[in-house]
Point group: C2
Chain length 214, copies 2
DNA sequence: GTTTATTAATCAATCGATTGATTAACTTTG
DNA sequence: CAAAGTTAATCAATCGATTGATTAATAAAC
């Protein structure tokens, strides 16, 4: 039970840190606040993760690794590229919608210069891998004649950028979409399917050739 | 000449602050560093702008107001909606490409909770106004039968999100596009026209109806 | 009884902000 | 024109508060 509690407590701190980092940013979240929100002594933070940066690193790493594997599985399946893109987008939106704060954290991390942290490079490399998987599927689709000859890199940026925009600036997005994206239920049941529908429509018109025959 | 120097110095601090805030984030940029980078005593910061937050506010306000007016001019012109969208996108990309750090700042500002700052609400309201102008043009285009019946709000998010993604995560975008977006010349002469071409192509295929007749 | 977990107290460093003094530039006065 | 008065600009020094991190002492677990 001690082992269990230890793990639970560490896990609890990770969850709290993900939220607080996401809300206030890395520099905006003090170790005292992090510990207080997690209901533990602030020395425990260093005891568990060595440093504040170590805590951020742990928060980031536990989510990034798993996601890419799922991406890879889809990308290497044997199906039409249009299907692959569809599934990848679906997975990505799902991931983003369930972990509200995580994508804020990593996007902020790669947009800021924080000297002396290894986290940025880790995030950068991981995101790049994900991007390249989508890139690969698009290239394959074009090569097979399934897709129009679009600007692959920009198309990728369009997908990730759109999702990012809606998730990372949730207050603005709430005003635009006229729905409360802070509410998890609204996010899941209204915004998510709507975003998916848009991405599918947008990608379909942009990628697929005009089926003027018939 | 004294008057001139005073203004120049304030302006200089604003320029430096825009860069430093953009690079390190609000909390990451200390007033000492800001003053040092601007080559002045740190008391001048408070003398000019009252507080650190006042400096950020000044940095943000001097750019936001002017941009919206230009947006409005385009939106209210008498031309096909497709032309309007084109011009707005062109203006927006131009703006973003010339002020490298500014859009990092405002996007970060609306994605973070900073208690006791009026800046967030100001940014939020301004961005919303810009978004609504695009929204209005899209709605008009649909109503006139010029555009397909797309999800307007999502389409807007797609435009702003794509540009945002490329600008705010420039290091990642540099890896993806295989060009050095830190280099201003590359940004202007290679990335900007390419982004514009993509947005036009993407919007054209998504918004315009299939001209299969004729 | 030894290892592991947890605490309160404390560390040096840095934070944003303010102070009082000094300089420079312009105005007023004689 | 020159002396006296006034304002704005700039500085070094320092304020109290907070930062991330560490300690030494204690409690719990095995």
């Amino acid at each position: 039970m001690a082992e269990k509690e230890k793990i639970d407590k560490k896990e609890h701190l990770l969850n709290v840190a993900e939220r607080v980092f996401g809300e206030m940013g890395y520099d905006g979240a003090s170790t005292r606040l992090l510990a207080q929100e997690a209901g533990m002594n602030m020395a425990m933070l260093n005891y568990y993760f060595g440093s504040k940066d170590g805590l951020l690193k742990a928060v980031v790493e536990r989510r990034m690794s798993s996601t890419r594997k799922e991406f890879e599985v889809i990308a290497h399946q044997d199906m039409p590229c249009w299907e692959k893109i569809n599934q990848i987008v679906q997975l990505y939106v799902s991931r983003v919608a369930t972990s509200k704060y995580f994508h804020k954290i990593i996007f902020r991390e790669i947009s800021v210069i924080r000297t002396g942290s290894e986290v940025t490079d880790f995030v950068l490399e991981n995101l790049y891998q994900n991007v390249m998987l989508v890139h690969q599927v698009l290239a394959e689709g074009i090569q097979k004649g399934e897709f129009r000859e679009v600007d692959i890199e920009m198309t990728v940026a369009g997908i990730f950028g759109t999702v990012n925009y809606l998730i990372n600036s949730r207050r603005l997005a709430s005003k635009i979409l006229k729905m409360d994206l802070m509410d998890d239920q609204v996010l899941q049941e209204e915004m998510k399917p709507r975003l998916l529908a848009y991405l599918q429509d947008s990608l379909k018109t942009h990628l697929l050739k005009n089926e003027t025959e018939k």
